[in-house]
């Protein structure tokens, strides 16, 4: 898999920490593998909106990657609740259901961006970089043989 210049937190130069929320274990594993290629670490994962809220409270992850269609509590409601409690939370919706109404609803509830599945790693990388803004810096890729 393609490697990307590592995204680091600007304040302490530590890897960006992610909370991955999706009811599909397969999708979570796939996202975990992608964020690893960005030099990130998985702070926690959740399979529904309720667990996502608890895991965000516990970890305060730098980025939340949130699916929409999930059992118990859907992603847009979970995003709203997280942002209400933590206005600085950076939630990116990642869903196959990419119609405008959903995107607008998610953004109105506090999500910072929307990425449609299937996830293209290069696109998600740019979105995460944009959402992190000044809070992140990139470290160059290690040179082969160095």
């Amino acid at each position: 898999m393609e490697l990307f210049p590592a995204l680091l937190r600007k304040n302490d130069r530590q890897p960006v920490r992610y909370l991955v929320v999706d009811d599909s274990v397969f999708a979570r594993k796939n996202l975990a593998r992608i964020i690893e290629s960005y030099g990130g670490v998985l702070a926690a994962e959740a399979g529904d909106g309720c667990t996502a809220i608890k895991e965000y409270d516990r970890t305060g992850a730098d980025i939340v990657l949130m699916d929409i269609t999930m059992p118990q509590m859907e992603g847009i409601e979970a995003a709203e609740r997280i942002v209400r409690q933590h206005p600085d939370a950076r939630v990116i919706m990642v869903s196959s259901v990419g119609y405008q109404e959903n995107i607008v609803a998610a953004l109105q509830k506090g999500a910072r961006h929307f990425v449609q599945k299937p996830v293209k790693p290069e696109l998600l990388y740019e979105v995460i970089k944009y959402v992190l803004g000044d809070a992140a810096v990139t470290a160059p890729l290690p040179q082969p043989g160095v």
């Binding site: 259901v97 599945k117 299937p118």
Partner: protein
Amino acid sequence: MRMELIQPFINAADAVLSETLACPVAVSDISMDEEAYQRRATAVQIEITGDIEGRVIFDVEDGAAMKVACTISGSPELDHDPQIIRETVAELANLVIGNAVTTLNDQGFRFKVHPPIAHAAEHGFHGSEDTEALVMDFASTSGSVVMNVAMRYNRRRRADAVKH
């Protein structure tokens, strides 16, 4: 069953399967089905409610599911694993339905997509006059994927919309 409700699912399946199977995909068979659904391999069902309502079943052969799993995960090879196959079929269904309902929503329809449910029974979901199912068999070198779509307008919701 109206073709304008079905076409977005066909287009989405064709696009998503071509990408995730990473090989040419051809429709090898199309039929209408009013009988109980008979599961062939690993199947999931997604229900849709709202202006349009119904359900879509995806039934995927193991070889095709493993190929999709490899493509999505970026792994050249994965060990055959029933859990991975179930997860992959659910994710594949999510991808196709998500793309299809995006098109339908852009046409003005409002609805809710429910999470995929594993369809373990051999039989189920009789068709009816309004919800006869279109069955499409997508063939590839990795195996076949069957999409069974039963979709109809929600008359009450549409009548309400006309009143207002």
